[in-house]
């Protein structure tokens, strides 16, 4: 069972493992979500959607459906 950004707990850090080419839009990479980069969960909105994360120095918020497509390793 692999873990994704959606599984992170608030304040927890991890490294992005992989982004699946087909269903991850280019924009996400351009915003700094790259394989091997550290990601930290800063806050979750109610129902875990959207997720406020810090990645590659950027502070951004993404929807859960997007977060679920980015696998992580600790």
């Amino acid at each position: 069972m692999f873990k994704t950004i959606a599984n992170l707990r608030i304040g927890e850090k991890a490294f992005i493992e992989k982004l699946c080419l087909d269903n991850i839009p280019l924009k996400l990479l351009e915003m700094g979500c790259l394989p091997g980069i550290e990601v930290e969960l800063i806050q979750k909105a109610p129902m875990h959607d959207p997720l406020y994360i810090k990645v590659n120095g950027s502070h951004i918020a993404i929807r859960r459906e997007t977060a679920e497509k980015i696998t992580i390793v600790y």
Binding site: L21, P25, L26, K27, L28, L29, E30, M31, G32, L34, P35, I42, Q43, K44, A45, P46, M47, D49, P50, Y52, N56, G57, S58, H59, I60, A61, I62, R63, T66
Partner: protein, 702 residues
């Protein structure tokens, strides 16, 4: 002879880099906002004096994270930079980055550099460097990036002169790209590409084939070639991914030795504030409190200036009548044009105040948090977290609100937002509500402290929002539009709002209202005045007709004049129009006179009150109290009861709450959605809802 050279400058950068502040510093008040031909995106340009003989024409391009566009705004950027025939095609590009997010900001910079257009890098917000423990080796960075770097702080006015000098000397800039990216992706593929499009730089050719856009400036052969290359979608996708990864690798390499961050020095203001402002409970409470404060503010602060404008125009109207020679044109000016313009300007206080608040919240960075908090809920209604701001703006005026929905990347979410915004209670509805409430709701207190009239107003506001939400849900389930776009929003650091920026922003939004709605309102006011002041034969013979009648022999001059006036109204063009729709509006409890007021409301909703004043023959410089008394006295000839009784009043309130009466809004919706389909849907859908609810209400309460 003094030569006046103009250097074309394109200003580009991520959102939240202070690009707007920089633009404002360079161009001051010499800005103008126009439209790109055929598209709704606004073109922001300004003039900046570089020295005695040279000016810069600066185009502030929409903020973007990458040259690869994901919205209409960003497509604009691409066209400006690729199309040499574009009037804004730059001689030099200024890329703005800011110290905190410099890594991500530089992605755009490396892309721009590859276009082989002279490029200057501005690092903004340098006044914050010490506080954040950031140190940059500018000389080394300049060498590694092959560019000229200007350290600036738009707010503190640092670096502006250096930037102007750099722009002046743009021809000296080095246009070689950084790092041989294309070689590292697939040398063979890119060599082929380069040979296919010999006329363009390699990166430009790559951009031409990777976007899903038809570029008009290409010739037939080039277009065919582009299509051929686009066939291999998989390959393009893979290579774009690789390109982005490689760019970031280069950026990391470059920054490794040139950027030093002392983490201990940086204060984590953002973290502290965010813990509270995005908290799952407190976040919402705080947001609700802020909204309440804003609405309170608008109501209490806007009233005084609005009254001032109202009386000013009323006085102007009567003054004009005394000063200009008597005649129809004078009447047109005094009774049509001046009230028309006054009717537009009177909303400026409300609109300006609301947009000032919104602008402050955006400038501080708080708005992103609002989007974060509201996204999930809004999605249930088929909209996006980014729809919150347009919806709130709709309570001032729908026109700038609809324009504000442009940053919603999903077309379906954006469309639904645009379609339901007109349900929110805009400023123009308030005068209508105010007079109706004054007429039919008793001025009593309920539960000891709640004012019944105020409560009714609140209920009407809630009604507007509820209608918006419910119709959004309906549209969400009914509309079959495929929407697969990425939701990403940056959570910028909190900043103290810049008054200059807020000023410019509010002026822009207010202008949008004035010119978007204003011209239409004025044109319709002129037409309506004409229709009310002219008519076929019966109208023309009114005086003769009335004075010859037996029963008027004993009446006073004033009373006779009033009879003539009301006969004239009944037989004017607009009177006939009112009469012809009477059978349709009767089920709602209205008569032909109200019908006239309804028709007039198509210019602007608030014209309802003025139209009634005209109809009941009240002079325009008398206050609402008189109109109210006159309306209260009006009697329905058939039933003998009051015309503006409770059922009719409620029916009118509902009608104005739901009906799409604003021609200005229809025009904007047509422009923003590029089709007649949607404004017509709004007109018909909202009209039906208004009609049905008014009829039901009238019958229930009768």
């Amino acid at each position: 002879m003094v030569s006046n050279k103009v250097v074309k400058v394109a200003l580009i950068g991520n959102p939240n880099t202070g690009k707007t502040s920089l633009f404002n510093q360079l161009t001051g008040l010499k800005q103008k906002v126009g439209n790109y031909p055929g598209i709704t995106v606004e073109k922001k340009q300004g003039i900046c004096k570089l020295n005695e003989t040279v000016k810069a024409e600066v185009t502030d391009l929409p903020g973007t994270y990458s040259i690869n566009p994901t919205s209409l705004d960003e497509t604009l950027v691409l066209d400006t930079l690729l199309n040499e025939n574009n009037s804004s095609f730059p001689d030099v590009i200024v890329v703005v980055v800011e110290i905190e997010n410099i890594k991500r900001n530089l992605l755009l910079f490396t892309q721009i550099k590859d276009l082989k257009i002279p490029t200057i890098l501005v690092i903004n917000m340098v006044d914050q460097m010490k506080r954040k423990g950031i140190d940059i080796d500018v000389k080394q960075l300049e060498a590694k990036l092959n560019t000229k770097i200007v350290l600036a702080s738009a707010r503190k006015k640092i670096g502006i002169e250096e930037l102007k000098t750099a722009i002046l000397e743009y021809e000296k800039l080095d246009i070689t790209s950084i790092g041989k990216i294309t070689n590292r992706i697939d040398k063979e593929y890119f060599t082929r590409l380069k040979n296919a499009f010999k006329e363009f730089s390699l990166y430009k050719s790559w951009l031409l084939i990777t976007q899903n856009i038809e570029f008009d400036f290409l010739n037939e052969n080039q277009k065919k070639l582009v299509l051929k290359y686009r066939e291999d979608l998989d390959c393009i996708k893979r290579y774009q991914h690789k390109e982005t990864i490689l760019r970031y690798q280069i950026i990391n390499e470059v920054l490794k030795d040139t950027l030093k961050v002392d983490k201990s020095k940086a204060s984590d203001l953002r973290g502290i504030l965010d813990r509270v402002l995005t908290h799952r409970v407190f976040g919402y409470i705080i947001f609700a409190a802020i909204l309440l404060f804003i609405f309170q503010g608008i109501f209490s602060w806007a009233t005084y200036p609005m009254d001032l404008i109202d009386s000013a125009f009323a006085n102007l109207s009567s003054w004009v009548k005394t000063v200009l020679p008597k005649g129809t044109f004078t009447n047109l000016i005094a009774e049509g044009v001046i009230p028309g313009i006054g009717g537009i300007l009177i909303f400026i206080p409300q609109i300006a105040i609301l947009f000032t608040f919104i602008s402050i919240l955006e400038e501080t960075g708080y708005m992103s948090r609002v989007v974060f908090l509201m996204d999930k809920i809004m999605r249930k209604f088929g909209m996006s977290g980014k729809s919150v701001i347009p919806l709130i703006s709709g309570t001032a005026c729908a026109i700038p609100a609809i324009m504000a929905s442009r940053n919603i990347s999903s077309w379906k979410e954006r469309l639904i937002t645009i379609l339901v915004i007109p349900f929110t209670t805009c400023s123009a509805r308030l005068p209508v509500y105010a007079i109706l409430i004054a007429l039919i709701i008793p001025d009593k207190r309920v539960l000891g402290f709640l004012n019944l009239q105020g409560l009714t107003m609140m209920v009407l506001y809630l009604l507007g929002f509820t209608a918006a939400i419910l119709s959004a849900i309906l549209l969400h389930n009914v509309l079959e539009i495929k929407s697969k776009s990425l939701f990403v929003i940056e959570m910028p650091n909190y900043k103290i709002p810049s008054i200059k920026n807020i000023f410019h922003e509010v002026v822009e939004k207010t202008k949008a209202f004035i010119f978007g709605a204003g011209k239409i309102i004025l044109a319709i006011s002129i037409i309506l005045w004409f229709l009310a002041s002219n008519g076929p034969s019966k109208f023309k013979n009114a005086e003769q007709f009335i004075t010859s009648k037996e029963e008027v022999k004993d009446l006073s001059k004033v009373a006779i004049q009033k009879k003539i006036a009301s006969y004239k109204l009944e037989h004017s063009y607009i009177g006939y129009m009112g009469k012809s729709i009477e059978p349709v509006i009767e089920p709602m409890g209205y008569d032909w006179k109200i019908g006239i007021a309804l028709i007039s409301s198509f210019a602007a909703r608030e014209v309802f009150v003025g139209a009634l004043a005209t109809i009941y023959n009240v002079d325009s410089d008398e206050n609402v109290g008189t109109i109210k008394e006159r309306m209260a006295a009006e009697v329905n000839p058939e039933t003998g009861k009051k015309r503006f009784d409770f059922p009719t009043g409620i029916s009118l309130m509902l009608f104005y709450a739901f009906a799409m009466q604003c021609v200005g809004t229809l025009a904007i919706v047509k422009r923003e959605t590029n089709s007649w389909k949607w404004p017509i849907l709004q007109l018909v859908g909202m009209g039906l809802l208004a009609y049905i609810s008014a009829v039901i209400a009238f019958n229930i309460f009768s």
